[in-house]
């Protein structure tokens, strides 16, 4: 039986050194809150939990967790996580990466982990800026963003992490805001239940170099009108007055108001993250303010075999059929001759 853990068991004795007001604090808090539940659900002890990161502000996270931790090098966290999980599939691997770490220098590892469906949980902290190097644009900075390396505004389009995950046929994608700790915890628990690469995007604020980057959707005053929390089996309804919803207009999503133009609640789409409806999920992940509310919650969560399972299964399968299992036998296999 797994021991019962509390938040305290997952807090390390290291002082957290993010800037006051940094969005990363709340994601860390959500992770420390969810891990006792994860261990209980999986029936595992906490020493099976490994937290991996790359380089960047958010990648300092492993030092604040009282677990096995690996703070690696820039962009390579996904490759390190993959190696850990494949080497020992019993481990429960969580990864913290920023938008630069996962999508710029580490973009290749990111898409290939998703393609393979390695059973790891990737927490993608998206503050649309390079904070640790003090304010250069990132691959998620908006077109025209004025930063230290784009004094006249960027002239390149940003990635939407959700589109990238789903275009790679990712099996799990969810999104939350730094301020929504309970929702963050909720999607972390779903990510932990999901077998395969679970990508969670956290829209985080960088108070120093990109303050308010997500404010147009995250400000309390209008958050309910400009975001939509998707939950399985629930209607895609949002708004302060719960009067707006999403319908399909031909192939495209459309925002409608319940009670207007004969629209009733029955016309509103019902969310199903488990259906393999990549086209619709892609549209949901891609929704941007002001045309749409930004989707939060678990957008896609579909079952598929994991890479680490398949690797282990192949080792077992080949071993079961093989004629030998020792190096002495290997050395004497095939074409040999005797000198007497």
């Amino acid at each position: 039986m797994a021991a019962k853990y509390t938040i305290k068991d997952f807090k390390s004795d290291q002082e957290v050194r993010w800037c006051p007001g940094c969005g990363d604090y709340s994601v860390l808090a959500a992770l420390q809150r969810v891990l006792p539940k994860v261990c209980e659900e999986k029936g595992i002890d906490k020493e099976k939990v490994v937290v991996v990161s790359g380089i960047g502000c958010s990648s300092r996270l492993p030092y604040y967790m009282n677990t096995f931790g690996f703070h690696s090098i820039h962009g390579r966290a996904t490759a390190i996580s993959t190696g850990i999980k494949v080497a020992n599939p019993e481990l429960c691997v969580w990864q913290a990466s920023g938008d630069g770490d996962a999508l710029a220098i580490g973009g290749n590892h990111f898409i290939h982990a998703i393609r393979r469906n390695v059973d790891i949980n990737i927490m993608l902290f998206n503050n649309r800026i390079y904070g640790m190097t003090k304010g250069q644009y990132s691959p998620t900075s908006k077109l025209g963003a004025v930063t230290k390396t784009s004094p006249y505004g960027t002239v390149e389009n940003p990635f939407n992490p959700g589109s990238l995950v789903l275009a790679s046929k990712g099996t799990f994608f969810a999104r939350s805001l730094d301020a929504e700790v309970a929702l963050s915890e909720e999607i972390m628990l779903e990510a932990s239940r999901h077998k395969g690469t679970s990508v969670m995007e956290f829209l985080t604020n960088c108070v120093i170099f990109n303050n308010g980057t997500h404010a147009e959707i995250s400000d309390r005053e209008w958050r309910a009108d400009r975001t939509i929390v998707l939950r399985d089996g629930e209607k895609m309804i949002f708004g302060k007055n719960r009067d707006k919803g999403l319908v399909l207009d031909g192939w495209r999503l459309k925002v409608v108001t319940i009670g207007e133009n004969g629209i009733t609640e029955d016309d509103i789409l019902t969310h199903d993250s488990h259906s393999d409806n990549l086209g619709l999920q892609m549209q949901l992940a891609d929704m941007k303010y002001p045309d749409y509310p930004v989707a939060l919650g678990v957008i896609r969560d579909v079952a598929d075999a994991t890479y680490d399972e398949r690797v282990a299964a192949q080792v077992e399968e080949v071993s079961a059929k093989a004629k030998f299992h020792s190096v002495d036998a290997l050395l004497r296999s095939g074409s040999t001759w005797e000198v007497k």
């Binding site: 030092y63 931790g69 850990i84 093989a322 074409s335 040999t336 001759w337």
Partner: protein, 613 residues
């Protein structure tokens, strides 16, 4: 002319043809049957990077050189006794490797106007043009004879023509009195599952080639090469890449740790990954990753998780792995990196051999980043070298870089297979009895190695990473702590010297000249030294398998000689390293940077010159 059967102690044959002519297969079959027959043996595949270079051109020539002997053989041989040229380009490319007394066998059918033109011949007599008209030349219509041989096989013309290398092999088997049983058996095994219809045609065409060579008058003499009298036991022929993979599996078994290899295909190292991918029955997990960096990073992850972790590569891939190598140095995790060196810089000449990555292995990282560097000196020795690399990595908690070479990886030699009972144990440094009080960077007093605590061990939770830390594992930018940790990591690598064999001197321990080498030049230097001794001159030779740290008696050995001649396939990287580490000696250099191995002659000349100076 009377046919003679001559007993030969050494024979070198070079099979050369278009890269689609199957010369690598022909050469390895000839080598393997000679190995089974009991000959001493060394092989050297020399092929272009293109899978099918422009047909009939000199740049597309693929060669495979086999040296067989009635005694132990050190090298694939400088020059050949028989050059098999399947087309004019092969003749043109490789005539320079023919001995004065050598023999040429050509496929007449390929020597038409267009073939001659593509090879760049300007007259209609290629032999005169190359100045080899005085050699024994066997001209045989091999394509036509193969077609005749298989006229009733039911195979289409393209398939029939693919068999012409087998006809050639049959002819070579006659000339060198090789029994055909082995090659029959090989063909049966190769085709029995997927193409049983190919068994009889292949056997027939080899037999017809053999009989044709026996029937024509063009083959003046045939040769026998008696079996060597090797050590008793079970023998096999093995390539360096295969041996390296097997050595890793042996270390996995001895250490009780599962083997993980994360790699990206790269010439000439790929065969190690291929070999490891095959033996899942020995518990090996392999990942063909998205790039070189993921290769080493998945391996570092696997090492953190408690596996014997490996990544394999060649020069350009090693460059890509540099930062992650630094991560392994900093986290002090066991890791084996095998670099099968090829000609550089950059993409260089991918299929050609060189020893030019030594400096990169020693110094190719940012910061003070000490690396254990060892090398392999022959194809079979790659087994022991890989085993030793893993043993050092696991017992000293350090990355170890093993330098192999294209020449060793692709080359082969007979190997008396060892018994695993004769190999030392490997004891990974797992932390014990420190639940709740584990300090990740506290070191063993003798070796300076830290202890290893892997995820899943209750009470050992800790963090590692690329940032500087204290012994406790706490991040620190304290100036004194950094200097202490830098010096301790350096000292840890230096103390590996206590666990490696002393440097041996072949010959007197004192004298005028010591010939020194490292890595795959061993066989050539040894042959050169033997030649010098055969002339009644005294010479000493020391070969380094361990480069960082150097064996602890290195200074003592070097002190016994007036001059030290360092032979290597680069501009003098090891010589420079020795000068830095052991400055009080007079060093001379023998270097070659042509993407080719030394010729024994090169080294003999360098020794002669060094002795005269």
């Amino acid at each position: 002319m009377k046919h003679k059967v001559i007993d030969a102690s050494d024979v070198v044959i070079r099979f050369a043809g278009d890269s689609g002519d199957g010369m690598q297969l022909t050469g390895s079959l000839f080598a393997n049957m000679s190995a089974v027959y009991g000959n001493g043996l060394s092989t050297f595949p020399d092929y272009p990077a293109e899978i099918r270079a422009p047909k009939g051109t000199v740049s597309g020539v693929s060669g495979f050189q086999v040296h067989i002997g009635s005694h132990h053989v050190n090298t694939p041989g400088d020059f050949c006794d028989l050059l098999v040229a399947m087309n004019p380009a092969a003749l043109k490319a490789d005539a320079k490797w023919l001995k004065r007394t050598g023999m040429v066998l050509v496929n007449e059918d390929a020597f038409d106007e267009s073939g001659m033109k593509k090879a760049g011949f300007t007259t209609d007599n290629p032999f005169e043009e190359l100045g080899i008209e005085d050699r024994t030349i066997i001209v045989a219509p091999i394509s036509k004879l193969t077609e005749e041989s298989l006229s009733e096989s039911g195979l289409d013309k393209a398939s029939v023509l693919k068999c012409k290398n087998m006809f050639t092999l049959g002819m070579a088997c006659y000339i060198y009195s090789r029994p055909l049983d082995y090659v029959y058996e090989y063909i049966e095994n190769k085709f029995k599952k997927k193409h049983p219809e190919m068994i009889e045609p292949n056997k027939k065409v080899i037999t017809d080639g053999y009989n044709y060579a026996a029937a024509i008058q063009a083959v003046p003499n045939t040769y026998t090469v008696a079996p060597a009298s090797p050590e008793k036991g079970t023998w096999r022929n093995i390539t360096g890449n295969q041996a390296a993979a097997w050595g890793l599996m042996a270390a996995s078994e001895k250490s009780g740790l599962p083997l993980f290899c994360g790699s990206y295909p790269i010439t000439p190292a790929t065969a190690i990954l291929e070999e490891l991918a095959f033996y899942k029955n020995l518990g090996v997990k392999t990942m063909q990753t998205e790039d070189e960096i993921a290769g080493i990073c998945t391996a570092i992850g696997a090492s953190f998780a408690g596996n014997l972790a490996v990544t394999t590569t060649s020069g350009p891939g090693l460059s890509l792995k540099s930062e992650a190598l630094g991560l392994a140095v900093m986290t002090e995790l066991p890791l084996v990196v095998i670099d099968v060196q090829r000609s550089g810089p950059c993409t260089g000449m991918p299929t050609k051999t060189e020893q030019t990555d030594l400096n990169e292995a020693l110094y190719g990282r940012n910061g003070e980043s000490p690396m254990v560097v060892i090398s392999s000196h022959s194809p079979a020795h790659c087994f022991d070298a890989a085993f030793m690399a893993a043993k050092i990595a696991l017992e000293h908690m350090t990355p170890v870089l093993l330098l192999s070479e294209g020449f060793l990886g692709n080359g082969s030699e007979p190997w008396r297979v060892p018994s695993m009972a004769d190999y030392p144990t490997i004891t990974p440094r797992f932390a014990k009895g420190k639940e709740g009080s584990f300090k990740p960077f506290v070191r063993d007093e003798a070796t300076f190695a830290r202890e290893w605590a892997i995820p899943g061990s209750a009470g050992y939770e800790h963090r590692v990473g690329g940032l500087e830390k204290t012994h406790m594992g706490v991040l620190s930018t304290d100036p004194d702590n950094h200097e202490l940790m830098v010096r301790e990591r350096e000292e840890k690598v230096a103390r590996v010297a206590a666990d490696i064999p002393l440097l041996e001197v072949d010959g007197p321990a004192e004298g005028k000249l010591l010939v020194v080498g490292w890595g795959g030049t061993y066989g050539h230097i040894l042959s050169a030294v033997e030649e010098i001794r055969a002339e009644g001159r005294e010479i000493s030779f020391a070969h380094f398998d361990f480069i960082n740290p150097l064996p602890s008696n290195t200074e003592k050995v070097l002190s016994g000689f007036d001059k030290i001649l360092v032979c290597e396939l680069n501009t003098g990287q090891f010589a420079g390293y020795l000068r830095a580490k052991h400055p009080d000696h007079k060093y001379l250099q023998c270097n070659k940077i042509q993407g080719q191995t030394f010729l024994v002659r090169d080294i003999v000349e360098a020794i002669d010159k060094a002795m005269e100076e």
